[in-house]
């Protein structure tokens, strides 16, 4: 490690807020982009599954 301690790596001789601020904004967006899409896709698939179940139930009720 270039720094002598984690404390120093965090402070970066006064530039810590700039560097870690920039990094955390990026990481936040890097995580949010796939997560929101994954949640949306899962919801869509769930909804479709429920619709299929409903349809097959109606079909079986119609048969009896």
């Amino acid at each position: 490690m270039y720094f002598d301690s984690w404390q120093q790596a965090w402070e970066m001789a006064g530039h810590g807020p700039y560097v870690w601020g920039a990094i955390s904004i990026c990481l936040l967006l890097f995580i949010w982009l796939p997560v929101r899409e994954l949640i949306a896709q899962r919801q869509l698939l769930r909804r479709e599954q429920r619709r299929q179940q409903l349809l097959s139930q109606q079909a079986s009720m119609g048969n009896t």
Binding site: Y2, I23, L33
Partner: protein, 247 residues
């Protein structure tokens, strides 16, 4: 050649292919980001003039590079969609616009954060920064047009494709802005010809970060295009079969 082209035009083929590739590319993305950022932020030496604030380069340059490279992909998708009316190209266009907007936004924000300690200002209306802002506005314009014309998808995709093509003009301007005009932004550190004007101990982690960002772009594109396929084609037989198989 044409069979390859038709394969890429098939949402079903892409959905399956992307689904198989996604986990691997995602893991590679995480690995490369981990190596690049860990190395760049904690191991690489600081710059003799800028001190530690130069470390913002490890996110700023990758997102800026990929936001520009992503525009080429989007413009090509737009051209393919306009000429061949390929559905998958339209989906790629829509996905690339959103991801590109996010990356350009990050390039602008990290640039502003970097500018404060080095230049002494968050923002300056110089050619490079302003043309990047125009890039962000074009990306956002496409994203918003798709939203606004959601009830007329045919028209939306055509209008967006034309906007994407017109916006292509901006890309060479961004690249050359620091050479054509007097600007506050420094010229490129990495050049196609000649060695980078950066010490190897700082340059290697930057390379890892750039590779990581490209891989991340690939991951996000596959994920988002798959999502578009789901949203638009959920009632097709092959997707209904997949949903049935999930139980």
């Amino acid at each position: 050649m044409w069979s390859w082209f038709h394969k890429w035009g098939s949402p079903k083929w892409f959905y399956g292919m992307a689904g198989r590739c996604l986990p691997w590319v995602a893991v590679a993305t995480l690995l490369c980001w981990g190596i690049g950022l860990g190395w760049g932020l904690l191991v690489a030496p600081m710059d003799f003039r800028q001190g530690n604030s130069f470390r913002i380069i490890y996110v700023h340059v990758p997102v800026a590079v990929v936001s520009l490279a992503g525009y080429y992909l989007m413009a090509i998708a737009a051209a393919i969609h306009l000429v061949w009316r390929m559905k998958l190209a339209d989906m790629a266009l829509k996905s690339a616009a959103l991801i590109g907007a996010a990356l350009t936004f990050l390039a602008l924000v990290t640039g502003a954060i970097w500018g404060k300690p080095t230049w002494g200002t968050w923002w300056v209306w110089d050619a490079r920064i302003t043309s990047m802002l125009v890039l962000f506005l074009i990306y956002m314009g496409i994203v918003l047009l798709y939203e606004a014309l959601a009830d007329r998808p045919e028209q939306a995709s055509r209008v967006c494709a034309i906007l994407a093509l017109v916006g292509t003009v901006n890309i060479p301007i961004i690249y050359k802005s620091v050479d054509w005009w007097y600007s506050l932004h420094q010229p490129a550190t990495i050049r196609f010809t000649g060695a980078p004007s950066m010490d190897p101990s700082m340059f290697y982690p930057l390379l890892w970060c750039i590779v990581a960002c490209y891989l991340m772009y690939g991951t996000l594109m596959m994920l988002y295009v798959r999502g578009e396929i789901l949203r638009r084609e959920i009632r097709t037989q092959w997707l209904q079969d997949i949903v049935r198989g999930m139980r």
